[in-house]
Symmetry: D2
Subunit: 342 residues, 4 copies
Amino acid sequence: MTVKVAVLGVGMMGANHADQLTNLVAGADVTVINDFDDERANAIADAIPGARVVSDPFDAIVAEDVDAVVIATPGPVHEKQVLACLEAGKPVLCEKPLTTDVESSLEIVKAEAALGKQLIQIGFMRRFDDEYMKLRALVESGELGAPIMLHLAHRNPAVPDHFDSAMIVKDCLVHEVDCARFLLGEEIKSVHILKPRPNSNARDGLQDPQFAIFEMESGRMVDAEAFVTTGIAYEVRSEAIFERGSAQIGLDVNLVRKSAPGIWGGTVTPGFKERFGRAYHDQLQRWVNAVKSGDETGNYVDGPRAWDGYAAAAVCDAGVRSLTTSTRVEVDMVDRASIPGA
Amino acid sequence: MTVKVAVLGVGMMGANHADQLTNLVAGADVTVINDFDDERANAIADAIPGARVVSDPFDAIVAEDVDAVVIATPGPVHEKQVLACLEAGKPVLCEKPLTTDVESSLEIVKAEAALGKQLIQIGFMRRFDDEYMKLRALVESGELGAPIMLHLAHRNPAVPDHFDSAMIVKDCLVHEVDCARFLLGEEIKSVHILKPRPNSNARDGLQDPQFAIFEMESGRMVDAEAFVTTGIAYEVRSEAIFERGSAQIGLDVNLVRKSAPGIWGGTVTPGFKERFGRAYHDQLQRWVNAVKSGDETGNYVDGPRAWDGYAAAAVCDAGVRSLTTSTRVEVDMVDRASIPGA
Amino acid sequence: MTVKVAVLGVGMMGANHADQLTNLVAGADVTVINDFDDERANAIADAIPGARVVSDPFDAIVAEDVDAVVIATPGPVHEKQVLACLEAGKPVLCEKPLTTDVESSLEIVKAEAALGKQLIQIGFMRRFDDEYMKLRALVESGELGAPIMLHLAHRNPAVPDHFDSAMIVKDCLVHEVDCARFLLGEEIKSVHILKPRPNSNARDGLQDPQFAIFEMESGRMVDAEAFVTTGIAYEVRSEAIFERGSAQIGLDVNLVRKSAPGIWGGTVTPGFKERFGRAYHDQLQRWVNAVKSGDETGNYVDGPRAWDGYAAAAVCDAGVRSLTTSTRVEVDMVDRASIPGA
Amino acid sequence: MTVKVAVLGVGMMGANHADQLTNLVAGADVTVINDFDDERANAIADAIPGARVVSDPFDAIVAEDVDAVVIATPGPVHEKQVLACLEAGKPVLCEKPLTTDVESSLEIVKAEAALGKQLIQIGFMRRFDDEYMKLRALVESGELGAPIMLHLAHRNPAVPDHFDSAMIVKDCLVHEVDCARFLLGEEIKSVHILKPRPNSNARDGLQDPQFAIFEMESGRMVDAEAFVTTGIAYEVRSEAIFERGSAQIGLDVNLVRKSAPGIWGGTVTPGFKERFGRAYHDQLQRWVNAVKSGDETGNYVDGPRAWDGYAAAAVCDAGVRSLTTSTRVEVDMVDRASIPGA
């Protein structure tokens, strides 16, 4: 069986998904391309043998030649599109954010739970990265005892002009939010975003860097530096402190050179594609495989679920409030057990 | 277009190719499985939707539902199978060795050249590895000046009991032979295999480690340690010394931990799948893509060619003679320019 | 000229100073040993040709055969001993803490300032460590722009049974306090000590690890993990985030090995002597040289001064209050400019 | 007791020794400075309180205010000066080479052996380097089994114009000769110096790099790259391959930075003082301590002995012949056991 996929939204991320599904992922055909900009949709579809453009995303979701949906549209339209997928009973891989506010994310969690089968996967692709999987495995093994703290860092060379302080929380820290939850296997109880003196290269008014303190349910603490105007490269590094040791991932190595004027070293990973390109591929491949085998298991996901999207939204919401109030803010989340199937 | 592939030989390597073509490579379907052991062929084919077993490899090659062939059979039958692919005009990805002797390898080079289109690709998968590609790119860029020396190391934890000293040359050093040729872009002129005091863990009579000196056409020198009873892991490391700097690949890093009793470090890559798994995937994907686009280009390869298989055979042949005679042995190769199209 | 030194207090640290002054530092002779335990003093003095025991520390300070004093006695007696050195006009290298409370530290700063010459050096030996000096030089050079954040970590394998939560602040974090001040060249404005879930290997009631947030005068932020029951080794690591880059020190490398079962790595520095042994030596050597040249310069120090001891005391005092109150505590310090000569 | 030292030859190396003995080494006073250039001797002596110039090296050796001698004069005068030290019964630390030919080195070995006490130490300072000591300790421990091979590299940024191919053997490879002997604890049986295509930045006629193969008595093999026109820095790296693992020293780490344009790394050690400065200090300190304690032990050395100087001379002599003849050359050495006390 080949999975026939509709890709909604073919900006940078969606176009990349469409290309990977076509040229790198086994078992999937992109049959439908949708974008609010038909011209862009056509340009992408032209490069994919057998793909057609459907202008209305809801038509695309219910189309007969569509088995599963990838949502890479702007956040504000996610809610309706994901719900349409649920209604159509079609598996969906939805880019973060699940929705743009906590309440609607929770509604989606409930809607999927009510359906009784897992259809929604969230695009937190780091969970498919070799190093993160190794670090998670180390946590699960208990080999170094229980984890106690995480030190996380997320650095971008630059951001577009419209990027504001809250977007650092919702677009960058959100990944560290999911890492903390994924690596420690528990929810975040409170967020406090500290504001170091801003980088002089940051646009006026942009609070960059930000230094977040997450307090986990168990009392563990996680700190996360987000710094988006470094001018250097894409740097993502995580350190876990355990009861009997520590472990780090995200060191830049590979080709190491020594050259004039007396320096040794390598290159820092320039962007997220170089750092997580393989994770994106593996995310899609495993999702396609899950969609194929869904008939047997009743679940069409192999990765983070709607709940993970909801939890990230709740934490980021608290983060933005902390940014505004300069105080520690409790995360407001419903009890997962209260929604059977979530 | 989906490329329909016959896989000849489904031992460990062929079975892995069949699995990757089916589950990880876009644009290819495995339609035919062949093995001298029909039972093994059936077991593999059963796991691949749409694949059937063909007992005679030559029937498989000419089958109508076969566009291209992967040869992973034992070396002694390669010659006839590759020639049959040429005769049938079908692109072939042939695992090393191209053939088991220098003369027949040369015959194949000539046969393909006479055909006027490139159909044969050799499975030197390291050329698809990110780090090797980066090191080759550094050589080509001229950024550090011309390369002067290479220090290469190839270590295996263990080898089967039947592995003899000549096999260290033909199965292990052969990879370093291709690396030297790939990285420096020139042929090897002579080989001298030095014999350090053997490892006490090596089987009696096995010359392990071996230390090879390759003299390149340009006078550059390459040394290559092959050590196959280390008991540790699969370790492959290369250092290039340039006129204005040096560069190393193959350092083991990724997750780094610190733990009792006071040690820091990571794990050494346990086997070739972990080290080169992605290179195998990319080799297949790029080959499948080349086969697809061959009608336009007339060439159905994207990687090492028959000549590279011949050159490796010639160098390894000299290597085995050096091992026997304990002297430096000139490599005997025809002039590539004498075979237009090779 | 050879500097004749009295060593007050010959526990582990003082004994080490006496040994280094005798056997590794040029230009100094230990002439007087003092300890509250005469037996211990005699044992140490016996191993040093020409050294005698003086039972009363104040007699030792004023002795004719004493040019300069090293104070390695318990903290509570520092105040009177340092003041006696000032009164006698003798240069003194005082181990941290300068005194055990903020007020008396300030009194000493004032007393030395009133004297008009610099006689007091504090034993913050990290300032003499190659790596810290390189990181400080990088800050001073401005090459990577202004520093924005520091991430500091301080880990000990174990602590004695009497070690309590406040001692983690005063004995461990105090080093990070001085590092933050030394590396950034400014004072600490507030301290907030966060309390992650304690290590299960920590004694009941011990808040370990602690995670401190220092806000600097300029608005820069520094975080410092102190973790003293890791069971691993002595690990001290610092990362500075600049406007145009970042830099790390304290990576454990040196001899790197690969061995069964498939691991690579080295040993983590077991203790402070291995990590900072050379810094201790260089601290003493540079102090001895400064004492020698003091007659010309009028200043007998080459390193952290009384003010640095006072500042550390003030910050640690705030730290202990933060630990108790679980809030951010402003550091209460006088204006340095108000004490000319401090 | 303070050891009164005469320093013969105060070029760069001797001046450094005089400075360290005066300002960094405990227990030694430089009392006499000698140099063929009196002016240079005066300049050095003026900076050392209590030092005087003696114009004739043989007068310096026998002077009453000289307990021990450091020889840092040009190689051709070493023989007579070392013999004069033996005759005067004075401990001597002699910079490499012991003498400039194999025969006279052997004569010195015999003369010292005849004396019945150890007076001669050779300045192979790497034996005092922490990393080399750790690697030697790893060999001795047997933890990874017996050593099988060493891969050694020695790179200099540049050499003076008069530096010829033979000097690469005698001034650079000589250190690797001693390392091979020190690390493996056995003699070198043959030397073969291979000649890679020279660096285009090397002076015309200079064979640079050179690649030496040492065959040890036990059949172990050692390869050593010497490359003296790299333009980069001072790079010395050693890897030992054992029966059950491998180990590397000489990796450049310390401060690691990440900065634009997207690179990470540190600086390569610029020169031998930065790399081995502490080894030079420790060599002197331990030698001074050995000279002090010699009365009890009858031996006044703590480091490489005259025999080590002789062995290095014999190996380098073979190396130069290999360079000329382009063949493997057996090392011609007497049996150490034939000289009791050597």
